[in-house]
Symmetry: C2
């Protein structure tokens, strides 16, 4: 005996209950008016017989999938890995909460074919772009394809809905605390200011000095530093300028700076970092770091995207909270 049809469908319930398909549909989806009694009958039947609507059919009829796509760089460097995974978990949490599912799309720097496929196949209602060094290419593509999307991290394009840490405030706070610890000569080593995030860091740094009524010394602010070698040179420059504390723009700079201080035998100089990560953890020279709960970061991003999809109001830019961790 061939199994006829595994799953119950609306028609089955309808004929079983002497109703029309549409009434059953309304009762189950909760949209449209149905008498309380009828609704209850349908719900009871569905419950006891384990009916679940076929989401594919529903998708086709409504032109909505209830899926969101998360774009992740496929060659995430190993010390970036925790970020994307934690972020993804947060997104999943947000999605589950509103009955969405999460599709992952990995992209290589020069290959967004997977992203293109899920978009042109209409497998998702919207996309989450996780921080990537090359945000622009995918973002442009999505804008062009008119697919709703949200970025995790900042974008220079003010029209893009984005979720980010309040880098400026975080850096201001860490700088303020540092100044309060009676550090008199605080240096900053920063990556390229072409990146928005570095501009924000610099802003925060500067404004903390202003608030404290202290001048920023040019010799102590070293910008545009990229690569381990440059960091080490910057460290020696800061030391030469008699810094007693070095603030680092990110975790890489921080790790390299600590390495250099240890290697060169310089003492009396402490370090803090504007971005936390595992690469830092080992160094005894590090005082404080800006720390972000990446999981709730992802959660916020997921929530924002879903709101966008459901036409609920969203901020053009959502800030997620940070904390400052003190190691010593």
């Amino acid at each position: 005996m061939p199994a006829k049809r595994q799953n119950l469908i609306l028609d089955d319930i309808a004929s079983e209950l002497g109703l029309s398909k549409s009434t059953v549909s309304r009762a189950i989806s909760g949209k449209g008016r149905v008498s309380d009694e009828t609704r209850q009958r349908v719900l009871d039947y569905a419950e006891t017989h384990g009916f679940t609507p076929n989401s594919i059919a529903s998708s086709l009829a409504r032109s909505r999938t209830n899926n969101i796509g998360v774009v992740i760089p496929s060659e995430a460097f190993s010390n970036e890995i925790p970020f994307f995974q934690e972020c993804l978990m947060g997104v999943c949490e947000a999605a589950a909460k509103r009955s969405y599912d999460v599709l992952v799309a990995t992209i290589a720097e020069d290959d967004i074919s997977v992203l293109k496929r899920i978009v042109s196949n209409q497998k998702v209602d919207g996309i989450l772009l996780t921080r990537s060094l090359v945000l622009d290419y995918p973002a442009d593509f999505l804008k062009n394809a008119r697919v709703p999307f949200v970025t995790v991290g900042s974008s220079s394009d003010p029209n893009i809905v984005q979720v980010d840490t309040d880098t400026r405030t975080a850096c201001r706070n860490l700088t303020r605390e540092t100044l309060q610890k009676s550090k008199t000569r605080v240096a900053l080593i920063l990556g390229p200011v072409a990146y928005i995030v570095n501009q924000d860091r610099l802003d925060g740094f500067t404004s903390a000095f202003q608030a404290a009524g202290k001048p920023v010394e040019d010799a102590l602010v070293i910008k545009g530093v990229t690569g381990g070698k440059a960091v080490k040179e910057a460290v020696m420059q800061a030391v030469a300028a008699e810094a007693d504390c070095i603030l680092c723009g990110d975790d890489f700079i921080c790790a390299k700076a600590a390495e250099q201080l240890l290697a060169s035998g310089v003492t009396g100089v402490r370090i803090s970092s504007f971005y936390n990560s595992d690469v830092i953890r080992d160094y005894s020279l590090v005082d404080s770091v800006v720390n972000v709960d990446v999981r709730s970061y992802g959660f916020a991003a997921g929530e924002t995207l879903i709101k966008l999809l459901e036409h609920e109001p969203v901020e053009q830019k959502t800030y997620v909270s940070h904390s400052i961790l003190h190691y010593h």
Copy 2:
């Protein structure tokens, strides 16, 4: 002027080319007979006008989604994180290669509601279960729901299609190498033998001894060790039995063992581990570890699942390769 319809559909092409919808469908899907000339005309038109078939509609008609689901524990301890992420990347790669997409389903130990939802909503054609401490619950559910699935890692159920490292061989090789390094008194510290993976480790260990013609000393094989405290006791027991080398069943045991040796000031005892991970990396006492390329592990699992879905023959158990890393 309201945008009529964004995307081209089969009907558009059909009427444009003076064909029927079904012919166009056949030409594009490649299934069914179409004259070469017609096929080419259709393909050309589709190409130049950027037609992509609506996958939802196709899914509804074929009852296949071309999605696979990957189940990941939502509370993955931080040192497990790289595993799942790397594995997921591998799966994505395999999926992309065959035009599948990947849906992630996070589950908590006691809550598989997300998994249940994607299954009952028929959002995926099959499921990949990534190694988890509580594999049985989801696996039972999937068997019951008659959803095709593959596990990453071993299962005690021989009917389940699984992809795994060849633990036995790996451990045998590492043990053999260790014995060859003129270690005379090699100890083993192992977790609970209730886990298949630990049985395999023990097997590999034992068979290397047999091959070398050496007897295994009972005092040097410590099984059923769980928790940091037990590991440390086991280490002292091995030291008391005059071990000059300790093989550890997994990364946790390895890390704790190294800690204990350092703390207790014991010298002359080296360590190797049957499983590699980041938690180990720091210790100077560690000689060699079994290492698995987790990404290709995920790739193999993804490939196996897709083959299963496409009714291609698959091994009931696929082994992925390992290597042995020498730190010192």
